[in-house]
Amino acid sequence: MTVNCILSGVGGQGTVLASKLIAQAAMDKGQNARTAETIGMAQRGGCVVSHVRIGDEIHSPMIPKHSADVIIGFEPAEAVRCLPYLKKGGVVVVSRKAIPPVTSSLGNSSYNGSEMIAYLQKEVARLIVVDGEKISKDCSSAKVLNVALLGAACASGILGLSMDELKNAISKRVKPQFIEINSKALEKGALAAKMTVPHHT
């Protein structure tokens, strides 16, 4: 079995760590993983995309178009930008909160996050919208959005990983003082997924 997962967001949101957590959890249960990351200039507030692939018959580190089982969008427009990767019937987990780029604040391009969410609702069969802002507030940390989104993706069952397996990966990859808060965010994200009713199938 192969699992292809795209994580897309804005530089600085923690997509790289999230992709490492998925890969670590998969490896811990004896699976092979491959990832590809955006590192370098684009990390400075630009679009960043991580590709995570789990399975044995995988060659390219990048997921081919129309092949992703799940897209984890850290921001509405960045989730939409990656839709060409989604396979038919694939899952999209997205954070509701939009991050307007400087270009749109300057008036050079318009951007409305709720329009992007509406578009996803229209286009994606299984969409999970996560109120990342609320979870961050509940956890008193702006840095847990990545793990909250992972929790939602995990609860959807699409990653083929259990919550405990992800928690175990967190304890290996995250600094000790941040393990508890991340585990909490993981649970809260999972709860958000469970409360999401599919729009149409």
């Binding site: 804005v10 530089g11 600085g12 490492k20 890969a23 670590q24 490896m27 699976q31 092979n32 993983a33 491959r34 990832t35 590809a36 990351e37 955006t38 590192i39 370098g40 200039m41 684009a42 990390q43 400075r44 507030g45 630009g46 679009c47 995988i58 060659h59 390219s60 580190p61 990048m62 081919p64 178009k65 129309h66 427009a77 960045e78 939409v80 930008r81 839709l83 060409p84 991050i99 307007p100 780029p101 400087v102 270009t103 749109s104 604040s105 300057l106 050079n108 391009s109 318009s110 951007y111 329009e115 992007m116 578009y119 961050s136 702006a142």
Partner: protein
Amino acid sequence: MKKFLMGNEAIAMGAIHAGVNLVCGYPGTPSTEILETVAKNNDGSIYVEWSVNEKAAMEVAAGASYSGARTLVTMKQVGLNVASDPLMSLAYVGVKGGMVIVSADDPGPISSQTEQDTRHFAQFAKLPVFDPSSPEEAYAMIGDAFAFSEEYGTPVLFRPTTRVCHGCASMEIADTKNVHKPEGFIKDAKWTIFPRLSYQNHIKIEKRNPILGEKLSSYRFNTVTGSGTKGIATGGISYEYIKEALGGCNAKLMKVSTPHPFPEKLALEFLRGLTEVMVIEELDPVIERELIFLCGKHHLNVTIRGKLSGDVMQAGENTVESVKSVLNGYLGLPAPEKSRFLPPLPVRPPVLCAGCPHRASFYAVKQAMKGQKAVFAGDIGCYTLGNAMPLDMVDTCLCMGADVTIAQGMQHIEPDVKHFSFIGDSTFFASGITGVVNAVYNESDITLIVLDNSTTAMTGHQPHPGTGRTMMGNITEKVSIPAILTAVGVKEVSVVNPFHLTEAIEAVKKAAAHKGVSAVIFRSPCIAVSKPVASYQVDSGTCAGCKKCIKEIGCPAISMDSGKALIEPSLCFGCSLCAQVCPCGAMKGVRYS
């Protein structure tokens, strides 16, 4: 032991396993993590340094290799241009301890000025080059490269590309480590390059390379698989894309992991029985040209297709989709599915971070030169992003250190225009100092702006001579930028915190008015290596909604919400620049205790 490693980490672990004694380099995407990983996993037996630039790194490693040490040098492809002077001569002189030079190429390009191909550099320098196709292959291949270098007494190039460097994979890592004890330097005439020695060595190299090509024909990572009359030739990451695109199709496929010296014997076996070959590679058509040459040399009636025939795109990186498109026309495999139509999306180019001191520095210079004709020569680093609107403060960017000298050239042609050059602290040490000496000696009239954020920010915060920290974990003397400038004869030098806006503008005005070379050092640490001291919020009752904060400084933490400015608390670093720009005093700061 099974580990999940990034390609760069795999290269580092492979080098450690091979018993590397000395590792040096200069940071550059996508190569940076190699040296950092060696430093992180150093048991104390390896000497590791960030050298001041790639030329210095190459020469330090050469000295150690002369002394019998196994050495690794790391850089990105444009860094190899800087190191090309020692490299070309070193190819003639040779080494004693194995010396592997990693030059990471960047198809796309994703984080580079050029799409140059290190395989060409290998041909030019007449050196062997290894080209891994995956992180796990890179791990195994780096050990081969050391052994090969030592066996033939020559430095070897190792060129991964971005997707190998920054791709991670599960792989088996050896727990053991080979111990390599350097013999020490033994005096010999062979270490001093002279024209007569060069002539003799040139003959030796030309005799040696075909023998190496023959040997490499049976190298474990040069392979021919599959069958049929239509073949595919490739190398590097494209091999993985082809495997993915081929699916169950067992087409005849040659993978070239040592593009130079070219494994001719293997290639001839591959060509036998073929009518056509499609060459799929990134950057330059290196394998394609070799095969065309081979067909000519052996009068083979095989059509070689690829970039030169227009079948494969000339620039940019390959993908599974681009390979599928080529193979669809060539082998009749299924074409890639058409991509779905997307709604208009906001453009999101990289920007200077919220709280970045460069924003304040650029803004101060812009304000100081308001209404005057001025040109702003930029350089390589995060501060290249100062080109974006609304700052629009980077008029040129060429290569490391060129800001200082480009400004001089312009000033000679247009002496009535004020010329500025912007350079970061790490770039200043790497290749800015000679440019300043040139300006002083040749009586240029430019103002140098040093953006000193106490780190090498763009590549991930490496230390440099101004930071007083080394990769061996030692605290060392900080090299002072103002002291250097004063010592080389710059008469007007000031050091200012760019977030003290009024003071910063005055310093720039004073420097700009100085006839001759002047300098302002804007000193404030990168936000990634410091802690926020405050947070700002907009008092919406006071905010007039004039958007001056957005239009003047373009901070990514500020956007408009219902006609008022809004600061995103998770991004604000409390730099106070917006508060100093706001005409209404609407930005209220809260200092952290």
